[in-house]
């Protein structure tokens, strides 16, 4: 059996004039956690819908567990647990009824596990879904997605719009699922804190294109933040080797840079500057720098406090 759970090749999709996805490649191996990062409207949900067979790949291919999800929805979807962005669950059912209803679709449904989760979240099974708060709704939707212990869990913005307490609970439930053997998780989020906590691998999508696709470890090791003090005032953004984004004014500048450190340090010395502070870049800094970046490698300067 192939180790690749998800294989998306050269996928493109347009809606009218808007290009939602542009030549996207994406692969997910069994047992890992994949974070899809991008601004709202970047294309994450469109990509996810293709994986579920809710959109047919018009240009490019999508294979889940080696199969086309559009050709064989029943076979593919029984291995998938899906949490939709808008928590599309019927309001007219009670929580208990939803559990029984969803359970009828999955032979691997574990009601005991579902009950355990309901208790953890202190949800009353007799309550109607329409009477639930936003957070509780997300919790119920999550439970109905993971109770059949799916091989592949796809979560679209699992914590968006939720308060810190509920978010923590949901993250915890997801962590618990991850720790079960062989489960693959793909989740999209614009909350980088949770992406950093959960992901083995991060894919950034911006305007339908993949702007970054690597393991979290690699990102951590190769992106750095440096704070620089120059001898002289710089009237324009200093040109530094391997810099992704430069910001600041006068003599003090901050840089996010990528790659080996030597050439970068050399370019600073050439401009008569010295590094005040240097550390790994946070995921947020990497994301912002990649998202603001235009095509090509020229860094963009944002000048602050003129």
């Amino acid at each position: 059996m192939s180790e690749l759970v998800v294989e998306v090749n050269n996928l493109s999709r347009s809606f009218g004039k808007t290009k939602a996805l542009d030549c996207v490649d994406f692969q997910a191996s069994r047992g890992k956690v994949y974070g899809l990062v991008g601004a709202n409207g970047a294309g994450k949900t469109t990509l996810i819908k293709h994986m579920l067979g809710l959109m047919r790949a018009k240009s490019g291919t999508v294979r889940i567990f080696g199969e086309d999800p559009v050709q064989n929805p029943q076979g593919v979807l029984k291995h998938i647990g899906y949490l939709s962005e808008d928590r599309d669950i019927p309001d007219w059912m009670s929580i208990d009824e939803l559990m029984r209803y969803t359970g009828a679709y999955h032979s691997s449904w574990d009601q005991g596990y579902a009950d355990e989760l309901l208790e953890t979240f202190t949800l009353d099974p007799n309550k109607k879904i329409s009477s639930l708060s936003r957070g509780m709704r997300a919790q119920v939707a999550l439970i109905s997605a993971i109770s059949h212990r799916p091989d592949l869990l796809i979560l679209d913005e699992p914590s968006s719009g939720l308060d810190a307490v509920v978010r923590k609970d949901i993250l915890n439930a997801v962590v618990r699922t991850i720790s079960e053997e062989g489960r693959t998780v793909i989740f999209s989020s614009h909350l980088l804190d949770e992406v950093e906590r959960l992901s083995d691998h991060v894919t950034m999508i911006h305007n339908g294109r993949v702007t970054l696709d690597s393991s979290l470890e690699l990102i951590n090791n190769s992106y750095h933040y440096s704070s620089i003090r120059f001898e002289n005032t710089q009237t324009t953004a200093p040109e530094l080797t391997d810099a992704v984004i430069v910001s600041g004014d006068g003599r003090f500048w901050s840089v996010i840079h990528h790659g080996s450190v030597e050439p970068f340090h050399d370019s600073i010395e050439n401009l008569r500057g010295e590094i005040v502070e240097s550390r790994n870049a946070t995921l947020e800094e990497v994301f912002v720098s990649r998202a603001s970046r235009r095509n090509g490698s020229h860094p963009i300067a944002t000048e602050v406090g003129k």
Partner: protein, 140 residues
């Protein structure tokens, strides 16, 4: 184990975990032979993916700080003394590096720094002494 994670300063999570465990060993908060939380428990407690905890533990195991007993949990290594010493030194050295960098920024040289350190230590000792005598007076 009391470990905190933050995603604000760019240090990879697994390294934060490993560093904190190292610190606890070095400062005798964790004793040799003591059992530490299994991967899953720690992952749930910290709300991070278990893979990260695995990585932290692997690094610590490779450095000899912890070891896994097959099928029966993870423990702090017994042979800690040389490691502990090295670890303590490593931690202090990191602190000193930061101090030196700041000092340089604020225009202190190493000489001034050492004088200041001695001065502050004397003040600290004096303060401790007065507190001690005050407590003794109270007891009488």
């Amino acid at each position: 184990m009391n470990i905190t994670i933050n995603t604000k300063d760019g240090v990879p999570i697994y390294r934060q975990i490993a560093n904190q465990i190292r610190y606890m060993v070095a400062s005798k908060l964790l004793k040799p032979g003591e059992e530490i939380s299994p991967v899953r428990t720690l992952a749930l407690a910290l709300n991070v993916t278990p893979n990260t905890v695995v990585k932290a533990y692997d690094e610590l195991a490779a450095a000899g700080v912890i070891f896994k007993r097959r099928g029966a949990g993870t423990y702090i290594s017994d042979e800690q003394s040389p490691l502990a010493d090295r670890e303590r030194q490593r931690i202090i050295e990191a602190r000193i590096d930061t101090l030196l960098a700041e000092a340089h920024q604020l225009d202190f040289n190493a000489e001034d720094l050492l004088d200041l350190v001695r001065e502050r230590q004397l003040q600290l000792d004096a303060k401790k002494q007065t507190e001690k005598t005050a407590a003794e007076n109270l007891d009488e």
